[in-house]
């Protein structure tokens, strides 16, 4: 190194840089040597991008298995969700290769459907799914988010039914039997006695984790879907300002303000939200199957204290579940080896081993209906007070509502989440705390959300010109 520097000093006088500057130059030289001499394993074969660390750990096992037995090798790259989405977009845009297989989250798929159907960047899997009988083997609603204009562009990973999680220990202590509750109205009534300063810190404690804003837009969508509302129908027609949606919004706003308030802002994946759950300052949450694994990892102290029950319905006898989240495996058109990519996708997603792994580690149930009778789904789960969690979710799976794949859904969801925020503020200012009193304003706000989404939709020349 010092000889190298002497050589440099022949050309560049020492005074050109200070000691610190020369140190950076030295770093540049030595790290170049180090980086160049640190071998990077050469990878040939299929590239597989995904964003979830939990998934990656499980997939690695199946991938190693594949690599040991078959060609070409598959390499997993774990990316942040943003990066994955931007790389995917850049590759669609410039027609440059992306990975051969990509696992994409539900919020980032529909955008790929905005253009003409022939320009969607993923390979249309519809015919293969039907010819190979996979379409009938999997849970039907699981295909909905990856389907545009009748064509399916991804292999579904999950069902993600939703239940209600509650602090069984604290409810028992209070002598409230939540399992008897059938509807959300009954629920609100049943839990109201628990509102108050439960831990004596001078701050009122509420019951259910539900709030406005970006952190809760998925929960809001789930509740709209449960009610039979949602923002687009199956033909992707907008249906935002509806009676059902207004009612859900008005009810949720009534949970958040006034003397009958029961809801509190305790977001998921958030340290403060988790702390509130640990402290018992919030007792109830909406819980899709995958969230249980997150809770168990982030809040091991809750083990044994949580129980699950079907969601209370919006109407007596109504739907007792909903859906939140989801991923698919997509194969971009730029792949050079579709057959291998497709075989690998099936090897991974349709394997019983993975279904069991996903369940044991994350409580995620498989969309493959044939696995639903497996006994591992019946084993008692310690975290959930010994409940057979898999079985509970599977029982609800057929009721999971259909979801839209409209490219404008994310946008619409944000607008409606914002309408809820404004409705809450309105209720606060006007001291209107009953859902019935909020219906007019809810309609007005939904109408203006609808107008904004319409404006956005009408800009799209492609969707307009296509039949």
């Amino acid at each position: 190194m010092s000889r190298l520097f002497r050589l440099i000093f022949l050309f560049v006088p020492r005074e050109s840089l200070s000691v610190g500057g020369w140190i950076i130059v030295g770093l540049a030289l030595s790290s170049s040597i180090a980086v160049l001499s640190w071998p990077i394993p050469q990878r040939e074969g299929l590239e597989f991008w995904l964003f979830s660390k939990g998934h990656a750990e499980l997939y690695q096992v199946k991938t190693d298995q594949w690599n040991a037995q078959r060609d070409p090798d598959v390499h997993i790259s774990l990316l942040s969700n943003e990066s994955l989405q931007q790389r995917m977009l850049a590759s669609f845009l410039s027609d440059t290769p992306a990975a051969d297989v990509i696992e994409v989250e539900r919020n980032f798929v529909p955008q790929a459907f905005t253009g003409p159907i022939k320009d969607v960047g993923f390979i249309d899997l519809t015919d293969r799914l039907k010819e190979e009988g996979i379409y009938d083997q999997l849970n039907g609603p699981s295909f909905a988010p990856w389907t545009s204009r009748g064509r399916i562009f991804g292999l579904p990973h999950d069902v993600h039914p939703m239940m209600l999680a509650y602090r069984a220990d604290l409810f028992e202590a209070a002598g409230i039997d939540l399992t008897q509750v059938q509807t959300w109205d009954e629920f609100a009534e049943a839990v109201r006695p628990l509102v108050g300063d439960r831990n004596g810190d001078g701050i009122t404690d509420y019951v259910i984790s539900m709030w406005t804003g970006g952190g809760f837009r998925d929960q809001l969508e789930a509740l709209l879907l449960q009610a039979g509302g949602a923002l687009f129908d199956e033909a992707e027609r907008m249906q935002i300002n509806t009676e059902l949606n207004a009612r859900v919004l008005a009810t949720l706003a009534s949970w958040m303000v006034g003397p009958d308030r029961i809801a509190v802002d305790a977001p998921e994946f958030d340290p403060q939200g988790n702390q509130m759950r640990l402290d018992g300052r919030v007792l109830v949450a909406l819980m899709p199957d995958w969230l249980g694994g997150v809770w168990e990892m982030d809040m091991p102290a809750l083990s044994g204290k949580i129980k699950l029950m079907p969601l209370p319905a919006w109407e007596p006898g109504g739907r007792r579940t909903s859906v939140w989240g989801g991923t698919m495996l997509g194969i971009p058109k730029t792949t050079e080896d579709f057959d291998s990519a497709w075989t690998f996708a099936k090897h991974l997603y349709l394997s019983e081993e993975l279904a069991e792994g996903l369940y044991r580690k994350h409580y995620i149930i498989s969309p493959v209906k044939a696995f639903w009778d497996r006994s591992f789904y019946d084993e008692p789960v310690e975290f959930f007070g010994g409940q057979p969690v898999g079985r509970l979710y599977i029982d609800l799976a057929p009721q999971v509502p259909l979801r839209t794949s409209s490219p404008f859904n994310t946008y619409a969801k944000d607008r409606v989440a914002n309408a809820l925020y404004l409705l809450k503020e309105y209720a606060n200012e006007n001291q209107k705390y009953k859902p019935e009193e909020l219906m007019d304003e809810a309609h007005r706000l939904l109408k203006s959300s609808e107008d904004l989404v319409t404006r956005q939709v009408e800009r799209n020349v492609f969707l307009r010109s296509e039949p």
Binding site: L93, A112, T114, G115, G213, P267, Q272, D414
Partner: protein, 291 residues
């Protein structure tokens, strides 16, 4: 100055920069200008629509909301942050101060932290049960112990976080400027019997003017590009009722979440034009001030 060097010399000197600039800046700028006049959906499909995107932009309530928020943030940055930076620099520049190096290091250190991490840290601190409420409630018992900063005071919270990030950084500029002048001029002024305010007006201000106008411009450009901090702090959204929606965030939402790169480019160019206008005005103002 134009004598005695071979004709090729300047070209060789600028060649490396210009080559890279042409390929990775100029061409992409051109490309995005063309894209701003297209509708690009589902990434691949595109259609030329000329100025339609800009037309839509002018009547887009969210764009204007983003512009307004961005102005508020920029004003906050310039009007709160820079005086603070200058004040801090003047404090540090007092000849009696011991341990100047340590203080300087402390004040500058936030600039060493990546923005994403700053956003995560402040997210934890601004939370309803976070450090900020805990402290304020501890000091003033009347303060709401669960005040929703990121719901009711979004822009303010962003400004505070960016104060922490940049006050020390900008202080360095002012400090350097003050150190270049203060000694001789300030002493001369003192001999003339000028009071501290007169000295500030007559010696300090003219001395730091060039640096100040440079820092103002940099802060404006920087605050108009606000994105990462707000995006992470507000949970990948514009916050409640889009109170924290900024122009670049709106660009990002359109380009990379809605995949509408044409419109995103139009937003980007609108911002660039706005900033160029600012730079021109600022240049005028600072030149007028000098003469």
């Amino acid at each position: 100055m134009n004598s005695g060097y071979p004709k090729w010399a300047p070209y060789v000197l600028v060649a490396p920069f210009v080559t890279v600039f042409a390929v990775f800046m100029a061409y992409p700028m051109l490309y995005s200008a063309v894209m701003a006049m297209q509708q690009t959906y589902g990434a691949k499909a595109s259609q030329f629509v000329f100025l339609q995107n800009f037309e839509y932009l002018l009547s887009d309530p969210f764009f204007w909301k983003a512009v307004r928020n961005t102005f508020v943030f920029a004003a906050g940055s310039v009007l709160i942050q820079l005086p603070l930076s200058l004040g801090l620099a003047m404090l540090l520049n007092q000849p009696q101060v011991r341990g100047r190096v340590i203080f300087r290091l402390i004040f500058f250190s936030p600039a060493l932290v990546g923005t994403v991490f700053i956003a995560m840290m402040f997210g934890l601190m601004f939370n309803k049960q976070g450090l900020v409420n805990f402290t304020l409630h501890g000091l003033f018992s009347g303060f709401d112990p669960v005040y929703p900063w990121l719901e009711q005071f979004v822009m303010g919270s962003l400004i505070i976080a960016s104060l922490w990030q940049y006050v020390g950084f900008n202080m360095i500029y002012f400090l350097a400027a003050l150190q270049n002048v203060s000694r001789d001029l300030s002493e001369a002024a003192m001999v003339d019997g000028a009071g501290p305010f007169a000295r500030f007006r007559n010696v300090t201000i003219p001395a730091i003017r060039p640096v100040a106008s440079f820092v103002v411009l940099l802060s404006l450009i920087g605050s108009f590009q606000l994105f990462e901090l707000a995006w992470v702090l507000l949970n990948n959204s514009g916050g409640p009722n889009d109170q924290g929606l900024t122009v670049v965030m709106y660009l990002y939402q359109n380009g990379f979440i809605s995949f509408d790169l044409g419109y995103a480019s139009a937003i980007g160019w609108a911002l660039a034009i706005l900033l160029m206008g600012f730079a021109l005005v600022q240049h005028r103002v600072s030149t007028i001030g000098e003469n």
